[in-house]
């Protein structure tokens, strides 16, 4: 029995990946999470230049629904600075997926090219952040732009290219199709849902950016639905990475059965002891596989389609 899984040509020791933006802004925290036993880590999205992100409050929990909302808005030190941290990770054999963003093809290209000499496990294109004016979701809701960006970048690196999709669209299949036609190696879904919280005493939106993205347990049924739909349409064409609201070990299998080859966990790792959570999830994945006679993750990917 093995917990290993494969996404395209990337072998992972287990199907758990740290989602972008959570515990991902420094090499040290990424390494810490990797050493806790996760299969791979995705860095916080990095762009062409350093950027402070949106004003605070930019993230808080929503405990009654076991979720969080954030409007960090792609705060990052710029790829030139972050390159040094990526190098440390790669030197320490951390399976590192680098999330990148840009405001157009050129910016995306600049970042990717600026890093593509490094043996990066994969690039993840953030075409789905809802918290910026000109990057992320703004691009990722237009199939033509998506295709153009992916096509352009595909030629410029040997590393696999993953495309992270937003659920905030009428038809995710259309966007996915564009990304596949552009030549990407895996689809990642979902990023956060467009959301907002207002304080009724001050009568102001709480987030400094007003609007934000909802993550955590509340969005799991939406993520499952998206992966299920994507697998139904493209399951034979491209591997899927499921993300959104994974908080329990059961959720990992729910995504795999929906069609994911691996999963990413974000919000649920924002706890006092992410190490314990990772260990707990892994242990229970193992137990479940044993009890259910599952030899291999690959055997059950998309298992809910029949």
């Amino acid at each position: 029995m093995s917990l290993g899984t494969i996404v395209g040509n990337i072998k992972l020791r287990n199907p758990l990946i740290l989602a972008s933006g959570v515990l991902g802004s420094s090499y040290s925290v990424l390494q810490r999470i990797y050493e806790a036993g996760i299969g791979a880590v995705v860095t916080k999205s990095v762009g062409p230049v350093s950027r402070e992100g949106n004003p605070n409050p930019s993230v808080f929990a929503l405990k009654d629904i076991n979720g969080a909302i954030n409007s960090i808005g792609l705060a990052n030190p710029g790829y030139k600075h972050f390159r040094e941290e990526i190098k440390i990770l790669l030197e320490n054999n951390v399976k590192t997926i680098v999330s990148i963003f840009g405001g157009d093809v050129e910016e995306f290209s600049e970042v990717l090219v600026g890093l593509s000499d490094l043996p990066i496990t994969a690039f993840e294109l953030n075409l789905s952040c809802p918290n910026t004016e000109k990057e992320g979701m703004v691009l990722g809701t237009d199939p033509q732009i998506v295709r153009r960006i992916v096509e352009n970048l595909r030629k410029k690196t040997k590393s696999p290219i993953w495309v992270k999709l937003t659920p905030n669209v009428t038809d995710i299949l259309e966007i996915a199709d564009a990304a596949i036609k552009g030549g990407c190696d895996a689809l990642v879904a979902i990023n956060t849902l467009k959301a907002m919280v207002i304080d009724i005493y001050s009568r102001y939106p709480i987030l400094g950016f007003k609007r934000g993205g909802l993550s955590g347990a509340p969005i799991k049924p939406v993520g499952i639905r998206n992966i299920f739909d994507l697998y139904e349409q493209f399951g034979d064409k491209i591997p899927l990475v499921g993300v959104g609201g994974i908080a329990k070990w059961e959720d990992v299998f729910e995504y795999i059965l929906a069609g994911a080859s691996a999963v990413q966990i974000g919000t649920a790792l924002g706890v006092a002891h992410p190490e314990n959570k990772i260990r707990h999830i892994k242990n229970n994945i193992q137990k479940f596989m044993k009890n259910e006679g599952i030899e291999n993750i690959a055997n059950i990917i998309g298992g809910a389609h029949r």
């Binding site: 802004s25 040290s28 810490r32 992100g53 004003p55 400094g208």
Partner: protein, 284 residues
Amino acid sequence: MSRKITSFDSQPIMGKIIRIEDECEDTKNFFVEMPEKIEGVKAGQFVMLWIPVVDEYPIGVAGFKDEILELGIAKMGVGTEALFNKQIGERVGIRGFYGKPFKPLENVNHLLLGGGFGMTPLKLLINTLKSRNRGDKIHVFEGARTKNKLMYLDFLQNLHDKGEIKFHVCTDDGSWGYKGFPTVALEEVLQEDSQQSVIYVAGPERMMKVVFEIGKKYQNVKDMQMSLADRYMRCGFGLCSACTVDPTGWRICVDGPVFNKEQLEQITDFGEYIRLATGEKKRI
């Protein structure tokens, strides 16, 4: 109005400013009444303070009694200034209580050393130690540039006069207490009293680093606990990683802000580097 706080570590809940005191130059004490019963706080923990439309930032807790939160705030920039402009009766958002607190040992001398707004968690720590009422000696060392910058001067002097603590105060310009750094008095105490001691520090990180190096020289220093509160934070509960330190990847907000000696040894960033809001590392 009855409003049950099921979870305080969630979206900000609105407290009402019911008292404002001038503490010292550019520093005020704000007393914020929380709308309903919330769980107790430990010295060293902090809240995220939301000034609607302006900013949200971490603030240590100086006191919490009868659902009234005491915060000691130094004016730094736009966010703290916006608070200074608030009137009694206005509301601010609070979420917390976040972070690992000081963990005072027993049967030791307690040596508390602080500067600037670092004094706020130490005030709560003093009250905690007093209420344990174990007869351990409590020394408090405070330093500032000048007299007007000394926080809690009356409070501490008063405790000193009552014999509840030993208060060692100093200023860079000699305008109050002895002229010099608080480490001078600290070393004196460490040399004179061979009893095992724990040093608790909160203040500018360069200063803490100096204290740390001094403390390491003394056999009778059983532990050092320092609050790394000079770090940029967003979430406050361990999600965003804005506040991590290298090379351990510890998050100041949940793995700290208070770290003990053994941990501090491992944090190479301590006293050397912080991270900006962008995530870039910057020399302190």
